[in-house]
């Protein structure tokens, strides 16, 4: 079992990775020589020697403040000694510097012990009831640097404890040591200065403006980096002691950012998740969804045993019985496979292989969301195998965002871009109908564009080979958008990045869970590629006909051309047209964790494992996979790949995947295709719809099924508002907060408006807000026409 360091507060050593060759500096610390790049802080140079200087306010990813004074050391430069001990977290190294830490300087040692004693003057020392107890930098360093008895005999300051600074973060001001890590994180990293230090002296305290709670998508990071138990998460508070938890490095299953996480489990129950440390991806941060949305894995309604439909009713069945029923139902039926975008790479591979080997079809698609032929072609020509990544953002000269709002749709990309914007004023252009707060925090130049006219906007940009065009999955809804991206990239040499919203989509492409690609990026249309894979799989041949996409699969099912469906983790209401008829007409084998909208149509249901209950990997938007181990050791649920494998056995066409590990091995063995990629043919933009044009995307926190059962998290979701321009609001005769009704032939939705920076004639709606599921209710996509009127 490996564990990652949570707060990076005590023992972690920060690797020093200079970007460009930098001057090296020689200095002596406690008698040892050390060479570090120029600009390194003394505290960090000491880490290179394994010398741990105690610290609280210092954090390697935040600007130094020198506030806590815990890290005092004696410093002398070329024979000239500083008259008093210096804060080693604020002083960059210099040649000829001689540093004496607590290990070799009595002055430094006394200074540190003195500060520690002072730090505890107003600390309540309620460790026995504090969540941080056992993993607390204050506790640990009070042991290493403090005295066993305090000389303080007076009265401590008193505060009401704790206070909610948002529905999910609680603040205990008595425990706070005022290191300002939380406030600095929020301002410097997240750009959400919703918390600040207020008052002065010992009454200084972290606070919020009462009308503006701490509703940042990144608030959980402050809980993690708080060096004491002053900030705690509502969900975890009083639930556990750290020494009772078993930690497993894990990967976030929510979005395609690819965060490294750590999952803490006690007796098979996940109690919390923390951001892991990967300087190439999430650094030490993550978003609140990845941190707190995991209750669904322990939902009471988890399906425990296989179910089969008998006389119209579902009943529990044994595995052999269910497998036999599924195998019989699929036998000789023309079958399509729908894989939601949330599978691990290994499970997606299982579906891909199952389709080809057990069902002899390429009719498989991972896109249970609006998609298009243009996108299918784009993925095969420009996404599969591509390696544009976070480091490319670090060195880009210009980032163009199209069909993509990073803070809502892939928050770590947002943080990465923002870091470069802060650091070197990276140029960011947003091709968007609505300039959201997230775009503003990126200082993005807005090219306000009516949905559907992205091509025109993109044609007007000039980029270089150091630029990146990042398009989101939503661009598939806007005909010609992806074609314009390709055109711009061809013209300028700019890199193309594509960011799906879900964690499983990029991996699904790579392992062939789509109709035009086989595993390893092999084009279905390429006979050599098929032969190559057939040999690897030990089968005679593979189906040659390009597979249908998800819409076509459902249409074919509806038309009777497909008679069965194998479905894993799909919400039919994520599609523009909920495929009710198709589902009613077909024999359905469904792999699911909890009852879903598919359940009522399914003929055989197999329960499957949640991410905590299996090993596997997710591939981020950047094409890098991160694997994870089973975090809940005694869980009995099995992975999709395993279930598909035993089903294939029952069907007599084995795919031989005994689990995620075997699948991973096979994926590596099968390798990736180094032949030619599919070519891309451009699609033209369509004419604009009549009426008011809809713009829509998902908020990070919404009615997503993986966010179930976490009310504290839901409490910080953005408000569901319809956004219109001032001019349009005027025409409608509404002002902020007034209701408007948006309708289509399918349905109507009433929401309060907020006047925003958005094009006239466009209305923005949240796609899946709680009670504002505009896609499900209206069935309308980006660029579609909707009707808008005042009132309900």
């Amino acid at each position: 079992m490996t564990t990652v360091d949570s707060g990076r507060t005590e023992s972690a050593v920060t690797p020093i990775t200079p970007i460009a060759p930098v001057e090296q500096i020689n200095l002596i610390i406690d008698g040892f020589e050390v060479t570090v790049p120029k600009g390194t802080l003394v505290i960090r140079a000491a880490e290179q020697l394994g010398i741990q200087i105690p610290r609280f306010c210092d954090h390697p990813l935040l600007a130094p403040v020198g506030a806590c004074r815990q890290c005092l050391v004696d410093i002398e430069i070329n024979g000239r000694a500083f008259p008093k001990p210096q804060a080693s977290c604020t002083i960059p190294v210099e040649n000829g510097m001689i540093v004496k830490t607590q290990l070799t300087s009595e002055v430094a040692q006394k200074a540190q012990e003195g500060v520690m004693e002072l730090l505890l003057v107003n600390h309540p020392l309620d460790c026995p009831v504090c969540d941080k107890g056992g993993e607390c930098p204050l506790q640990n360093q009070a042991m290493s640097t403090g005295q066993s008895e305090s000389r303080f005999e007076g009265t401590k300051r008193k505060f009401e404890k704790p206070v909610n600074i948002s529905s999910q973060v609680l603040l205990d001001r008595e425990r706070c040591i005022l290191c300002a890590r939380c406030t600095r994180f929020s301002e410097e990293i997240a750009g959400d200065a919703f918390i600040s230090l207020n008052e002065r002296g010992a009454l200084q305290q972290v606070g919020i403006y009462e009308k503006d709670p701490f509703e940042s998508y990144f608030s959980g990071n402050t809980v993690q980096i708080c060096p004491v138990g002053a900030l705690t998460g509502s969900a975890y508070r009083f639930r556990s002691r750290p020494f009772d938890l078993v930690s497993t490095p894990s990967v976030c299953e929510h979005c395609a950012s690819g965060c490294s996480l750590r999952t803490d489990v006690r007796r098979n129950k996940t109690l919390r998740r923390l951001a892991g440390d990967d300087s190439n991806v999430n650094e030490e941060w993550n978003c609140d969804k990845g941190r707190w949305a995991f209750q669904y894995t322990m939902a009471k309604d988890r399906i425990a045993n296989p179910l089969i439909r008998e006389n119209g009713q579902l009943r529990e069945a044994s595995w052999p019985e269910a497998l036999a029923a599924a195998a019989a139902g699929l036998k000789d039926k023309r079958t399509g496979v729908l894989v939601g975008g949330r599978s691990t790479v290994e499970d997606a591979y299982g579906y891909a292989k199952f389709a080809r080997v057990a069902l002899n079809t390429n009719d498989i698609d991972f896109r249970s969301r609006p998609h298009s032929q243009e996108e299918t072609d784009f993925l095969a020509a420009h996404v599969v195998g591509s390696k544009v990544n976070y480091q490319d953002i670090d060195t880009a000269d210009h980032v163009v965002l199209v069909g993509f709002e990073p803070e809502e749709e892939s928050p770590i990309i947002f943080l990465r871009i923002r870091k470069q914007v802060q650091k070197r004023a990276l140029e960011v252009t947003a091709v968007t109908p609505y300039l959201s707060r997230g775009f503003k925090k990126l200082n993005a130049k807005a090219v306000l564009t009516t949905p559907g006219q992205e091509a025109t906007a993109l044609n007007g940009l000039s980029l270089t080979s150091k630029s990146i065009i990042i398009s989101g999955e939503r661009l598939a809804e806007l005909a010609g958008g992806l074609s314009a991206v390709v055109k711009l990239a061809n013209k300028s040499g700019a890199k193309i990045a594509w960011v799906p919203r879900r964690a499983g989509e990029r991996g699904a492409i790579e392992v062939g869970a789509i109709g035009n690609l086989l595993p390893g990026g092999r084009p279905v249309s390429d006979a050599t590629a098929r032969v190559d894979l057939a040999a690897a799989w030990g089968v005679d041949s593979l189906p040659a006909e390009i597979g249908k996409n998800a819409d076509q699969i459902l249409a074919a099912a509806n038309a009777g051309q497909l008679e069965a469906l194998v479905i894993g983790g799909v919400d039919p209401f994520d599609m523009q047209q909920p495929p009710v008829n198709a589902l009613e007409k077909t024999f359905i084998v469904s792999l699911e964790m909890r009852p879903s909208a598919i359940t009522e149509f399914a003929d055989v249901i197999f329960p499957i494992a949640a991410v905590t209950e299996k090993s596997g990997s997710f591939m981020s938007w950047a094409g890098t996979s991160r694997s994870f181990e089973k975090a809940a050791p005694d869980a009995e649920h099995r992975s999709d790949a395993y279930v598909l494998s035993i089903l294939s056995d029952a069907m007599g066409t084995p795919i031989n995947l005994t689990g995620s590990k075997a699948a991973a091995k096979e994926i590596a063995a099968v390798g990736s295709w180094d032949g030619a990629r599919a070519t891309f043919t451009a699609t033209q933009a369509k004419n604009l719809h009549e009426g008011v044009i809809l713009a829509t995307w998902r908020h990070l926190l919404d009615n997503g099924s993986l966010q179930a059962n976490e009310p504290n998290l839901a409490g910080t979701a953005r408000k569901n508002l319809a956004r219109v321009s001032a001019k349009f609001a005027n025409e409608l005769g509404v002002k902020n907060g007034d209701l408007v009704t948006v309708s289509t032939d399918r349905g109507s939705l009433a929401l309060p408006i907020e006047v925003s920076e958005i094009l006239d004639g466009v209305i923005w709606l949240p796609r899946n807000g709680v009670g504002a599921e505009s896609l499900r209710i209206l069935g309308a996509l980006n660029g579609d026409g909707v009707r808008v009127r005042k009132g309900i």
Partner: protein, 435 residues
């Protein structure tokens, strides 16, 4: 009265000393015209040559500070005047601004011109609303007279002057906290480097000077560096305002060359009240270690006061006679520092909280010799360990009082409380005696 050298205070008793007319009558607003006709660097050179040192406490050479401002960098520069004057005992800038706000304005024009700043700010403590009003009027009058604004007197030099009113925090007198406060943030000291001369107000090169420092400049330009440096002592040139307060007969501001002694100043102030004896005094406000009657004859310049184990600071001489309980005085000062600690760093924030409680016990006679050792040890853990100089000031009275008046502390323990009648030290007692 021969020892006095009234320059800044020369005409404070004129009825209209605070008006342009009153100031001009004695030559006011002529030296900035002279300065504007010179090269800015020449102005800086004169100030350097004069030996003028900052009057805000630290005594940093003013001309040198101006010389730190990068030139030709095509960026805004700012000239900021520190009028926060909040140190207990310090009371020179406020009367100066009441009596003659225009000398400061003239100094600002010269200083801003020298450092190529086109926008100057005065940061004034918010409690002194009468001074604020007077200063606002003076600024308005200076604008009307064409001394401020665009193309001043046809010289092509532009200068806007903004008065900013603080919200009542001692720490906002610390120059970097002042800049934060001026920018609209809560005033807390900034990490240095970068120093204000490189990245100060709005991250632009900025000079921060005390009121008295800036107000001393017009006379230097007018009468020359040599005239100024002919006064004072070897390394502490010129004249300055000494503020005597407390148990002297005639408290107030005494303008004299640097190096005058307290004995001379007390004489000028009519002696200790009621013929009492001097017990202890601060040379430069409560942040400077106290001295006693042993030190009556040390020259009050930067070097000599340093050598005596204290600091000249703001030359705020608080005089305490033998009716004063040292512990009581020290506790009141410590309460001030506890109240004013900005809270940024641990030693000052937590230390002042603790010290007040300890001293409170000691004043009530609850304590032992060991407690005094502990008190000193805690002070050692605060001083030189904190983020800014406020904390060093906070422990100065405690450490110095223990050095000179340890027996007074012990007497409290023996007596089970303060052995001295607290009323005896008050002002209304002197009033009753008719001193």
């Amino acid at each position: 009265m021969s020892k006095l050298t009234p320059v800044l205070s020369a005409h404070w008793d004129d009825k209209d000393s605070f008006t342009i007319a009153g100031y001009s009558r004695h030559g006011g607003y002529s030296s900035f015209k002279k300065a504007l006709a010179m090269e800015p660097d020449a102005v800086i050179q004169i100030v350097k040559d004069s030996g003028l040192r900052g009057r805000g406490g630290a005594g940093f050479p003013t001309g040198t500070k101006w010389g730190f401002i990068p030139q030709g960098d095509n960026r805004e520069h700012y000239f900021v005047v520190n009028a926060d004057e909040s140190e207990p005992g310090t009371c020179k800038d406020t009367p100066l601004l009441m009596a003659n706000p225009h000398v400061l304005i003239e100094g600002i024009i010269i200083g801003s011109y020298a450092v190529r700043a086109n926008h100057a700010f005065i940061y004034i403590r918010g409690e002194v609303s009468h001074v604020v009003r007077r200063l606002l009027q003076a600024i308005e009058d200076a604008y009307k007279a064409g001394f401020l604004g665009k193309n001043i007197l046809g010289t092509g030099f532009n200068l806007e002057l903004t008065l900013h009113i603080g919200a009542g925090a001692y720490i906002c007198g610390e120059e970097t906290a002042l800049l934060d406060s001026l920018e609209g943030f809560r005033g807390q000291p900034r990490l240095r480097p970068p120093f204000p001369a490189i990245a100060g107000l709005y991250a632009r090169p900025t000079v921060v000077n005390n009121v008295e420092s800036v107000a001393s400049v017009p006379a230097i330009i007018e009468k020359g560096a040599e005239w100024f440096s002919s006064m004072g002592s070897e390394k502490s040139k010129g004249f300055t305002l000494y503020s005597l307060s407390g148990h002297v007969k005639n408290p107030g501001q005494f303008e004299a060359p640097l190096g005058i002694t307290l004995r001379e100043l007390i004489d000028l102030a009519g002696g200790i009240r009621n013929g009492n004896k001097l017990k202890f005094w601060t040379p430069g406000g409560s942040s400077t270690p106290i001295l006693t009657s042993e030190h009556l004859d040390i020259p009050l310049d930067y070097e000599s006061v340093d050598a005596a184990g204290s600091m000249l600071g703001t030359k705020a001489l608080q005089i305490f006679d033998e009716t004063t309980c040292i512990l009581r005085a020290v506790l009141r000062w410590t309460e001030f520092y506890k109240h004013e600690s900005c809270g940024k760093c641990t030693p000052c924030r937590e230390g002042t909280w603790w010290l007040v409680q300890m001293l409170g016990n000691l004043e009530n006679g609850v304590g032992t010799e060991e407690d005094l050792a502990k008190l000193l040890d805690i002070c050692e853990n605060i001083g030189g360990r904190s983020f800014c100089a406020l904390a060093d000031g906070a422990i100065a009275p405690i450490i110095s009082s223990l050095k000179y008046f340890r027996d007074d502390y012990l007497a409290h323990f023996k007596n089970g409380g303060c052995p001295i009648d607290p009323v005896a030290s008050t002002l209304f007692v002197s009033a009753k005696v008719g001193a």
